[in-house]
Symmetry: C2
Subunit: 122 residues, 2 copies
């Protein structure tokens, strides 16, 4: 169980939520489910700050040790939030030595942004 290839519980990121922004027509229930899961992963002050700090970090990556102090929470809690952000498809992890470096998934935030955009639909 140490090198599990990361089965993301959220299906493929770009499949079911590819194109239709929120406001053109009523979205289906399963699309709403998928989008809500992504939004829920982001709808937490701590996780927003983690994403923000990672994105603004030098090299656009940060290890857990760099994130604990800025958010002011315990290390297990920070790891927990990072896991949620990974499972939602916003972050990736790469271990180098004992350190775990997190970085943004390139298109993830932009895709979400596009789905919420009203102007794209009228």
């Amino acid at each position: 169980m140490t090198t599990t290839p990361q089965l993301l519980p959220m299906a493929e990121p770009a499949a079911a939520m590819c194109c239709a922004p929120l406001t053109r027509e009523a979205i289906a229930a399963d699309q709403a489910d998928l989008l809500a899961r992504k939004l829920k992963a982001l709808a937490d002050p701590t996780r927003l700050r983690l994403v923000s700090i990672v994105a603004a970090s030098d090299g656009e990556e940060a290890c857990v040790c760099d994130l604990i102090e800025p958010v002011g929470l315990s290390q297990p809690t920070v790891s927990h939030h990072l896991k949620i952000l990974m499972e939602a498809g916003f972050l990736t992890r790469s271990k180098r030595g004992t350190w775990a470096y997190y970085r943004l998934v390139p298109g993830a935030l932009g895709e979400l942004s596009h789905l919420l955009d009203v102007t794209a639909s009228r």
Copy 2:
């Protein structure tokens, strides 16, 4: 108490979250709080569908009676979700007769979309 001018518990919509997208620099704790509250209001399948249905409705407005059957939940639950969306600044309500019509707040989704946009910051 029938015509309360709607004191939104979230402060002014465009004040503290006006400009800086998530990924240019680390956001402050209070900005993260504000953004998380908005995202949390949207991070529910039912509420996403409500917003979507309202936006896609004829005249871009819908009354509660039109929303109950599509989402398949009880009337109190639908009213509860609509209230949350109103308090978060995504919907407005106007009563005409016994009916309550909800419609989108023009810039609300777009502002959120802009904040999440990565491309705007690099």
